[in-house]
């Protein structure tokens, strides 16, 4: 999800649909309510979670609540694209 001029706005939450198992713990953990259940299914048949595209506050709650190691990445406010982390 990108902004109009093609640049992401940080903080930003990225969810890998293939790694997501559709438990939706992240959705309910998000205080900003910016995650939702997708209407689409991933290849395993799960309705994966999606970031609405804006409004992430960088709290990281979804990241820590998600049981899948690599399903969620949260880029925080000070994130500089391209810099090794």
């Amino acid at each position: 999800m990108e902004t109009v001029n093609g640049e992401r706005e940080y903080p930003f939450c990225e969810i890998d649909p293939e790694e997501c198992k559709g438990c939706h713990l992240c959705v309910s953990s998000c205080p900003a309510e910016v995650l939702e259940v997708s209407d689409n299914l991933n290849s395993k048949g799960f309705h994966y979670a999606e970031y609405k595209g804006s409004g992430c506050i960088g709290c990281g709650f979804c990241f820590y609540m998600c049981p899948e190691p690599g399903a969620i990445t949260v880029y925080l406010k000070d994130y500089e694209p391209g810099k090794a982390v």
Binding site: E18, K21, H24, S28, G60, Y64, P69, V74, E80
Partner: protein, 479 residues
């Protein structure tokens, strides 16, 4: 640690789960919403942040986390059901700088491995336990765990857990925190953001404790098992909050990490040959053998049965004869009766002192018996070889041997010891008497062995010396 600018898959995880069979090498085997996955992430992140990924050795238990080794970029042991604390004990002792983690479920830790966790905790082993309490056996399909709640339905408590037949939920933090050795015992939960955060802190603190060699840390984590509980993930979270927490209260049960306890120090094993031989008390010089004496044929290659009350020193009597035989270059063997028989009852031993390699070591048909009490005489004269020799303790045995073919030496063994002021030296009187009868060895050679046998206490040595001589001289003077 620099402030994070991104929250991504922690480096404590492998990029690609190489040990995982099949195509999906980028996702876990856990069910959606499983507590194990959340805890895995907290552990992997802590290993990275504390810079110990490369030093970590993880126990993968039997349970749903049996495949924990798929995921972490560390060393791994897959271990038997419940035994993770035993294996972790040896791992942390073998490589004391390793960050050893015992990861366990509630069936694993609190049922089959109940004693293993308790004992490792009590020893204060330097490792951390992450204990996932999900009130059920997940892996095997939802049977009762020791932590299953009262009334909770599982596949083996279809009518609900009945405490009168199935017992009550075991509260491990409460149990473990009663022990002195553990340094940090806490119970956290994964049912909401705030508690995930607390769990994260607990995980980090526990790993830090191991890093600083503070000893045993125990982190119990209430985790969801949506599959086992047959609920949605979010309902499972609610179930923890409403049903589990009242039974398993959250909080720190013990924290003495800041107390001034000594850190766990395991010295480096020594393998250097000189020090090893010194520890074994092995001398490098070859011992000079004494030249063997002329012995009457009936006393050559004796097969000896010494016997008496426990406490009469029967074992040391036999050992002394074997030891002195060695000095003359004989083949020797000593075989005790062992076990309950020794406790208060009679004791006996077989000694062989022979030219050639010794076969059977039990003196089933002895050529010489040394009987220190009456039951011994009666028992062993029956198996004495024809024309054998009987040396018996005439102080305590008021009957005479019945064997008419035998050569008989009544020696007041206990009496002679008593005259020296200590009946406890009667065994050495017996040895002296044996030397006097057989002339197999010089009694002075036994005396030289006394320090080796009884330690260096001078008064004791002197008394035993006198005892050997008294037995020897009595025989020489009277027969």
């Amino acid at each position: 640690m620099a402030k994070k600018t991104v929250l991504r898959k922690p480096k404590g995880f492998l990029d690609v789960y190489k040990h995982k069979p099949g195509a999906e090498k980028d996702r876990t085997h856990y069910c959606p919403g499983c507590g194990h996955g959340i805890l895995h992430k907290l552990v992997a992140e802590a290993l990275e942040d504390l810079d110990v990924v490369d030093r970590t050795v993880l126990m993968s238990p039997v349970g749903c986390s049996v495949f924990a080794y798929y995921y972490f970029d560390t060393g791994h042991f897959q271990v038997a059901h419940g035994r993770a604390p035993a294996v972790a004990t040896a791992v942390s002792r073998a490589n004391p700088d390793a960050i050893t983690i015992s990861y366990q479920g509630d069936g694993d830790l609190a049922a089959i491995g109940g004693n293993n966790i308790l004992q490792a905790a009590n020893r204060g082993e330097n490792f951390v336990v992450f204990f996932v309490n999900n009130a059920i056996y997940g892996m095997t399909g939802g049977q009762m765990a020791p932590t299953t709640l009262e009334g909770q339905k599982t596949t083996t408590t279809p009518y609900g857990r009945n405490p009168l037949t199935d017992g009550y939920p075991i509260k491990m933090c409460e149990v473990i925190s009663q022990l002195y050795a553990p340094v940090y015992v806490t119970r956290t939960s994964l049912h909401d953001n705030a508690n995930v955060r607390k769990t994260r802190n607990a995980v980090r603190k526990a790993i830090q404790n191991v890093k600083e060699k503070k000893g045993f840390s125990f982190v119990e984590v209430l985790g969801m098992c949506p599959s086992g509980w047959k609920m949605s993930s979010t309902d499972a979270q609610r179930w923890i909050e409403e049903e589990m927490i009242p039974v398993f209260p959250l909080g720190v049960y013990k924290d003495v990490t800041d107390e001034d306890r000594s850190s766990i120090d395991r010295p480096t094993p020594v393998h250097e040959v000189d020090r090893v031989l010194e520890a074994l008390d092995v001398t490098t010089e070859k011992a000079e053998l004494l030249s063997k004496r002329e012995v009457e044929p009936r006393y050559a290659n004796p097969s000896i049965r010494a016997s008496g009350f426990g406490g009469q020193g029967i074992m040391s009597m036999g050992q002394a004869i074997a030891r002195v035989g060695m000095k003359y270059g004989y083949e020797v063997s000593w075989l005790p009766s062992y076990g309950p028989e020794m406790r208060g009852g009679t004791a006996n031993c077989s000694v062989k002192v022979q030219e050639n390699k010794i076969g059977a070591c039990e003196a089933t048909e002895p050529t010489v018996i040394i009987a220190m009490n009456r039951p011994s005489l009666e028992r062993f004269e029956k198996i004495l070889q024809p024309d054998g020799t009987i040396i018996y303790n005439s102080t305590l045995i008021e009957v005479e041997p019945t064997r008419e073919d035998a050569e008989v030496y009544p020696v007041p063994i206990t009496g002679l010891a008593d005259d020296l002021g200590n009946t406890r030296v009667q065994s050495m009187v017996g040895v002296g008497a044996f030397a006097g009868v057989t002339d197999l060895f010089d009694p002075e050679e036994v005396i030289k062995l006394l320090p080796e046998m009884f330690g260096s206490k001078a008064s004791l040595i002197e008394l035993n010396e006198k005892a050997v001589r008294a037995g020897y001289e009595y025989v020489k003077e009277n027969f």
